[in-house]
């Protein structure tokens, strides 16, 4: 087991930047250029873009979450935390938050599970390894709206094979009209889209486990599944935890396009997630203050997730 800590799983690159609380106190290089102005020149474009398109809007989101803006643009009124109270207190918001939680849990669980399953199998086989890998990662490149469109077709009232399959079982599936049918289709498409990402990381995680550890585990334990559970899975834990956070963020935010395409501009009785509601209230409902307050709530959720990741990873670094 000790050996494992010296061979961190490959997502280390991203994990390490995330886990490192800033640059190491010692300089990045023993030797550095000593010029006071040149580095600012190199940093200027990046900083300019970040200030104008990241900090300015973020500050604005926080400020306007404390105001109610007149929909016709005639000034705004300071209302304190009323926007937050309104959002958190409304039945609709709670319902959507509940759906978002369910959606996130299901999408994360299934895409992680399938990604892991395929990675374990692809790691084992010799013959056809490259073909399987290519086939399983190709979908990574497909955009969420395209995935949503393809999902719409598979669940189409007239031509969708899923609808026909359901009809064969005597069920009248109506994606886009029936709440839970739409939810099912959204979850399936979102999982499909995310499996390749998890597959890539789990596979490189598995491949970085040293052969000596594998051989030792084979000698120690003859049962393949127990061996996987007790020897391999713990070594994959860092990868899995990293992916867990990434997948939660994916389910919360990156599925926006899938949802937008699949509800086809008729969110009325269809399921939606919190980020879709931010957009819907802000751009359709013109409720800028309310939308901003919801944005800030989401920001807090993301920050909390990231902090959990830091803490957990720090612990692992110390005691791993």
């Amino acid at each position: 087991m000790r050996d494992a800590t010296h061979h961190p799983a490959p997502p280390g690159l991203i994990r390490r930047w995330l886990s490192r609380p800033g640059p190491a106190p010692e300089p990045a290089k023993r030797v550095q250029f000593d010029q006071p102005l040149l580095p600012w020149l190199f940093l200027a474009p990046q900083l300019a873009v970040i200030f104008v398109f990241f900090y300015w809007p973020s500050v604005q989101a926080i400020t306007s979450s404390f105001y109610i803006e007149d929909p016709f643009g005639f000034g705004s009124t300071f209302v304190g935390i009323d926007n937050y109270k309104d959002a958190l207190g409304s039945r609709e918001y709670q319902r959507i938050a509940g759906f978002t939680a369910l959606f996130t849990v299901l999408v994360t669980a299934f895409s992680l599970g399938l990604g892991l399953l395929f990675a374990v199998k692809a790691d084992k086989v010799i013959r056809g390894r490259t073909s399987y890998r290519t086939a399983l990662i190709a979908v990574y490149a497909i955009a969420p709206p395209v995935a949503g469109l393809m999902g719409m077709m598979l669940f189409d009232q007239h031509i969708g094979p899923f609808v026909r399959l359901a009809a064969w079982f005597g069920y009248d599936m109506k994606v886009g009209i029936n709440y839970w049918d739409t939810a099912f289709a959204m979850i399936l498409v979102s999982v499909w889209k995310q499996v390749p990402y998890n597959f890539i990381f789990f596979l490189s995680g598995l491949q970085s486990i040293p052969a000596s550890v594998r051989e030792a585990s084979v000698i120690d334990c003859r049962n393949g599944f127990t061996r996987f559970r007790t020897a391999i899975l713990p070594l994959l834990a860092p990868t899995a935890f990293f992916l867990l956070i990434i997948n939660i963020t994916y389910a919360l935010f990156d599925t926006f396009a899938v949802i937008d395409v699949m509800v086809k501009d008729k969110p009325a009785n269809n399921p939606m997630t919190l980020v879709y509601k931010v957009y819907n209230d802000g751009f359709r409902g013109n409720d800028i203050g309310g939308s901003a307050a919801q944005s800030v709530i989401l920001m807090v959720i993301v920050l909390v997730l990231t902090l959990i990741q830091f803490r957990w990873l720090e612990r692992r670094v110390h005691y791993g």
């Binding site: 290089k29 474009p45 398109f53 598979l154 989401l298």
Partner: protein, 280 residues
């Protein structure tokens, strides 16, 4: 240990089918006519309508103004994908170079300023970002489409990590030979970073090409529409039509998915390395 295990292959084949059949269906169905699709459902075999459909999708003047064709959207998606990838590489390489190779005040502070952008995705600040863009007068422009997407530090951290793994001796040797910061960057560091740049280019190209929400908000003029925007459009037109243009929707989807899929499949080595590799 190397026996052939049928069970493993069965799972992998099922997985492959699960991932690839929808794509195959999209490609195959796009080659049939809308009426055939409406009557018979989706296809797994090629039809004979491909040329007609793709010609229509690529060249028909669509939209309210008649200004937009599939070709325009393809061009705009390319501009967004390549522009974003190149912008990201230039910006983040310069920033990472400053952070790693220079000793100057506030370096730690600036690192944090840049680092923070990793925490909040664009979606949560979408409304104020839109307002900022509109007050800057950048709606409906390529600048407005590309530049705000650059406001995230992923690339900077890739390059920072990579530069830190470059042996210190290179800089020492270069300085002994009298090389300044520009010469070191251009003659040594950039040539060394080629593989890294390729990997980041692939990841960022796919990311830019696949953008949906931001282009949707930023572009109201149809001549700036990307393929992703076109997909939303084609679904909106459907509502109320008797036989939807299934074939054209599929053809559009195929146009939108093929370039990034090809890039990822052809360069998968670099791409996976860029995505996952920790130590070099």
């Amino acid at each position: 240990m190397n026996r052939i295990k049928p069970f493993d292959h069965i799972i992998l084949i099922l997985g492959t089918l699960f991932m690839c059949v929808p794509v195959l269906v999209a490609v195959m169905t796009s080659t049939h006519s809308a009426v055939d699709i409406h009557m018979n459902g989706l296809y797994l075999t090629p039809g004979d309508n491909a040329v007609g459909t793709y010609q229509t999708v690529l060249t028909r003047q669509g939209g309210f103004t008649g200004q937009v064709t599939g070709l325009t959207m393809l061009m705009n998606s390319l501009i967004l994908g390549i522009g974003f990838a190149v912008g990201k590489i230039v910006l983040s390489m310069a920033a990472a170079y400053a952070l790693v190779y220079f000793r100057f005040r506030f370096a730690t502070f600036l690192f944090w300023i840049i680092f923070t952008t990793l925490l909040l995705p664009l979606e949560v600040r979408i409304m104020p970002s839109y307002q900022v863009m509109s007050s800057l007068g950048l709606l409906n422009s390529y600048t407005g489409l590309i530049v705000p997407l650059l406001a995230s530090a992923t690339g900077t951290f890739y390059f920072r990590q990579f530069f830190k793994s470059v042996p210190d001796e290179l800089l020492e040797a270069a300085r002994i030979d009298g090389a300044g910061p520009w010469k070191f960057l251009i003659d040594i560091l950039i040539p060394l970073s080629k593989t890294m740049m390729a990997a980041i280019f692939i990841i960022m190209f796919v990311y830019g090409w696949n953008q949906y929400l931001w282009p949707m908000l930023m572009t109201t003029e149809e001549r700036f529409f990307t393929l992703m925007r076109g997909i939303k459009q084609i679904l909106q037109v459907w509502i109320g039509s008797q036989i939807p243009d299934y074939n054209e929707a599929f053809a559009l989807a195929v146009l939108a998915l093929l370039p990034p899929v090809i890039v990822v499949v052809v360069f998968q080595r670099w791409f996976i390395r860029g995505l996952t590799e920790s130590d070099k």
